[in-house]
């Protein structure tokens, strides 16, 4: 069984007429960086809530299908057990942070898990270093900038050493440089620790460069899933595409085809330089 496996999963919130997600089939493994996109209200957050068991344990409604995370049946596993395998990071870190220092914030959930002191210390030091937060360890989270707060939120989640890291628009309130920093840090983690990252993010020009896989949703269903370039070509009307990809498309319409499509300026420039020599002949 794969690390995350959803089979024909549908969910309808109590009181709603329509299903929020319909017949979702999705599986993913360690080391993948899955970018989940789609218009607001298409069911992305509902899908994420299934992964950590908030659905069906907290949200009432009608749940069909089979969902397994880390081999555990989501329907039969209490959320606190799932929480050891699935870390969640939200848009607004302020809602997640409440203690008086960064260090204590990170240690808190480890203490709750009943880990031995030495192990807690090891893990706290580890993530402080990994996220470059050592100098901020004694500062109160509420004094920090939005970018730093979001790093602390992700660090506290990563200290639990989950196999799956789920991020719901983690950079919505960050400036572009901090956003890029947070997303690339997450990408490094996915690689080094072989974590499965599932990220919801609207700013494609920032997030696409890291994704190994792109999943697009519309009206509760997955409408495309696969290699980011291929998926994006199919769904760009729905989710937009990076500016350099528009230039690529304009050139293509004129009969000037390049390798691609490019997701980043670097890719565009590289494939343009390769194509240029051919065009000039």
């Amino acid at each position: 069984m794969r690390l995350v496996e959803l089979r024909d999963v549908s969910f309808r919130y109590a009181g709603d007429d329509d299903y929020a997600i319909k017949e979702i089939n999705f599986s993913a493994d360690r080391g993948e960086y899955v970018l989940l996109v789609g218009p607001s209200g298409c069911g992305k957050s509902t899908l994420l809530r299934v992964l950590n068991g908030l659905i069906p344990h907290f949200y009432e409604g009608e749940f069909d299908g089979e969902a397994h995370v880390a081999g555990l049946n989501v329907r039969e596993t209490p959320t606190h057990v799932l929480a050891r395998h699935v870390g969640m990071v939200f848009q607004d870190p302020e809602n997640q942070l409440f203690l008086s220092s960064v260090e204590r914030e990170i240690a808190f959930s480890l203490e709750n898990m009943g880990l031995p002191r030495a192990e807690i210390r090891r893990r706290v030091e580890n993530v402080l270093r990994l996220f470059g937060l050592e100098e901020l360890r004694h500062r109160a989270p509420y004094e920090l900038s939005g970018g730093q707060q979001q790093k602390v939120a992700i660090a506290s989640v990563m200290a639990l050493e989950p196999e799956v890291l789920v991020l719901d628009e983690p950079t919505a309130n960050l400036d572009p440089l901090s956003a890029l920093e947070v997303l690339s840090l997450v990408a490094e983690l996915a690689k080094e620790r072989e974590v499965l990252v599932i990220l919801v993010e609207h700013r494609l020009e920032l997030a696409l460069r890291f994704a190994t896989r792109l999943v697009a949703m519309k009206a509760g269903r997955i409408v495309a899933d696969g290699e980011p370039r291929e998926v994006l070509e199919r769904v760009s009307r729905l989710v937009g595409c990076p500016p350099v990809m528009i230039t690529y498309k304009l050139l293509k319409l004129r009969g000037l085809s390049l390798e691609g499509p490019p997701l980043t300026p670097e890719e565009f420039v590289d494939s343009l330089i390769r194509g240029w020599e051919v065009w000039r002949r």
């Binding site: 218009p39 848009q91 919505a172 960050l174 572009p176 937009g240 350099v244 004129r254 420039v269 343009l272």
Partner: protein, 272 residues
């Protein structure tokens, strides 16, 4: 509109000599890193904050000599966090409230309410509580409530944060329409790609000062200035800069995808 404005919070300077004009029929983007003073500046535009030194004129009226209520009719501000402005029990009431307060006749108010809810794609939520909406929807509701009472200048703080692509397009469309109607639109944003698409002029702020102001094209293709205020270059000028480094002699620095395309075609044709 703002002339050499100084402001501080409890002695900590937030604005240090800012002069900036907002024009009708124009979209002005104010950009810069968090804490640069952007939000402090826009709070001066409707008199929520009054300058300690210098002055702010709104259609010729000094903001120190007018009430916020008077100024708000002419200058509508949508703040970054919509929850600070939403309070009514339903989406519809939220939009109706300010209009009623400002003395719009009920039938006019109703008609305008209809229009702006539709414009923001919120008509199906009219009876829902604002708090049952998503962040992106609440933000659009806050915009709708301000558009309702028809101010001459509309100020939007981070209008695209948390908005998906289609809604971003919608907001871009609304901004273009407001501009075409001859209103002045000010956006505070980190979203360089959005600014590249909608703004006519861009002002970059850092440490309580405006460090650069000019046409959107001029400012957003100035890689050095962009970096200085901790923004990322938009993708197209970024690619253009890399192309130059690799020997492509582009005559102009493009800002938008179509401009880059035209530059490349020109270069390709110009070659022997």
């Amino acid at each position: 509109m703002a002339e050499d404005v100084y402001f501080s919070y409890d002695g900590v300077p937030a604005l240090r000599g800012v002069s900036l004009t907002v024009r009708r029929g124009e979209v002005l983007a104010i950009m810069g890193e968090n804490g640069a003073g952007k939000t402090t500046l826009i709070k001066h535009f409707n008199g929520l904050l009054k300058p300690e030194r210098g002055r702010v004129l709104v259609f010729g009226v000094d903001t120190r000599e007018a009430s916020v209520a008077q100024l708000a009719r002419r200058v509508g501000i949508v703040f970054q966090n919509p929850d600070h402005q939403l309070f009514a029990e339903s989406v519809e009431e939220e939009v109706m409230f300010a209009m009623k307060n400002m003395g719009f006749p009920p039938d006019v108010a109703r008609e305008r309410c209809e229009r702006v809810l539709k414009l923001m794609g919120l008509e199906r939520y009219r009876h829902r509580s604002p708090y049952s909406l998503s962040m992106g929807e609440r933000k659009r509701l806050a915009i709708a409530a301000v558009l309702g009472y028809n101010p001459d200048i509309i100020v939007l703080d981070e209008p695209t944060a948390g908005q998906d692509f289609l809604n971003k397009c919608k907001i871009g469309g609304v901004i273009a329409a407001l501009k075409a109607e001859g209103r002045g639109v000010v956006i505070v944003t980190h979203d360089v790609e959005f600014a590249a698409q909608v703004a006519d002029r861009v002002a970059l702020m850092a440490r309580g000062k405006i460090v650069r102001v000019g046409s959107a094209h001029e400012v957003l293709t100035d890689e050095k200035a962009i970096k200085e205020v901790r923004l990322l270059s938009p993708q197209v000028p970024w690619a253009a800069c890399m192309l130059r480094e690799r020997g492509f002699s582009l005559t102009n620095t493009p800002l938008l995808p179509g401009e880059l395309y035209l530059e490349l075609i020109k270069l390709l044709k110009g070659r022997p």
